[in-house]
């Protein structure tokens, strides 16, 4: 089954609220060998005017992944995980994520384009805080390979 072109414009319901934990932020930062005290040290983060540690720039991938699971679970998507390559990624921030934020992500498939040997699927996960204010949008481009003959 090829990628379903009717996915374009499809909007998904927001994911369940995700509470950003201080130790999760620190664990993520350590996995990236970060030395930024804003990620690691709550005292440094507070001294800089934040309520708690600030998440690394790529942290929203955790929420984007929840939305991609929604996409893959669509019975008519035609997207099989084992043929998916991550081709591009972008994060567009209104403000940084801080431990204590309760976030949801809402996915929209914004583009599907066939190309030699595969299909490019572009989607945007719009991440908002508990007040409904925009925090960051995570844009991903996946290339879905064609099924083996």
């Amino acid at each position: 089954m090829p990628v379903n072109p009717e996915l374009v414009g499809r909007e998904f319901p927001p994911t369940a609220p995700y509470l950003v934990g201080r130790e999760k932020v620190r664990e993520f930062a350590r996995a990236l060998h970060s030395s930024d005290p804003l990620h690691l040290d709550p005292i440094a983060a507070r001294a800089a005017g934040y309520a708690d540690v600030v998440a690394p720039t790529t942290f929203p991938i955790v929420l984007q992944d929840f939305t991609l699971q929604q996409l893959l679970a669509q019975p008519d998507s035609g997207i099989v995980l084992s043929r998916v390559l991550h081709a591009e990624q972008r994060f567009q921030y209104t403000r940084p994520i801080v431990a204590g934020d309760e976030l949801t992500a809402a996915l929209e498939v914004t583009g599907i384009r066939s190309m030699g040997g595969g299909t490019m699927v572009t989607s945007e996960a719009r991440i908002r805080d508990a007040a409904g204010e925009h925090v960051v949008t995570a844009v991903s481009v996946l290339v879905v390979g064609e099924a083996d003959a």
């Binding site: 990236l32 970060s34 690394p56 720039t57 790529t58 955790v62 940084p96 801080v98 934020d101």
Partner: protein, 150 residues
């Protein structure tokens, strides 16, 4: 890792290296990133699955490489500059050998500065075995917004 001191946008010139480091990637780091991020795709820790998929070996998560790259500049930015946008293309995989790992070199340079707007673009070059693995890895930074949140 080396970083310059606190940046003043007006002092930056395109081409200036603001931070760089070399990361010796190991399988342990891939497993650690899998746990931290929730991405447990087995091509990032199982040789048999990677081989089954026709890959040259176990690969680093593209998002690990992207994250390592931007964290090279994060501490340099300090509390007064914020990252507004960060994007890249994944152009080449990083194969992490079970014994010898993979050595990834990251260099962050000033791409452009707009002093009036209070913004700058930082370009990241990430290479492995002498070839770049991220395409157009660019970070847009700007003066921090008023402290109205968090």
């Amino acid at each position: 890792m080396s970083t310059a001191s606190t940046p003043a946008l007006s002092a930056l010139q395109p081409g200036d290296v603001v931070a760089q480091r070399t990361i010796e990637l190991s399988r342990e780091m891939l497993v650690r990133y899998a746990g931290a991020s929730g991405d447990f795709n087995p091509i990032h820790y199982r040789d048999d699955v990677a081989a089954q998929m026709g890959l040259p070996g176990v690969l680093a998560h593209g998002m690990l490489t992207m994250g390592l790259a931007v964290e090279t500049v994060s501490a340099w930015l300090g509390p007064e500059l914020q990252i507004r946008e960060y994007g890249t293309r994944f152009t080449r995989p990083v194969v992490v050998d079970p014994v010898t790992g993979a050595s990834v070199e990251i260099v962050a340079k000033v791409g452009a500065v707009d002093v009036d707007a209070g913004t700058a673009r930082i370009d990241l070059t990430v290479s492995y075995e002498g070839r770049t693995v991220l395409g157009k890895a660019q970070v847009q930074v700007g003066a921090r917004a008023p402290r109205s949140h968090g």
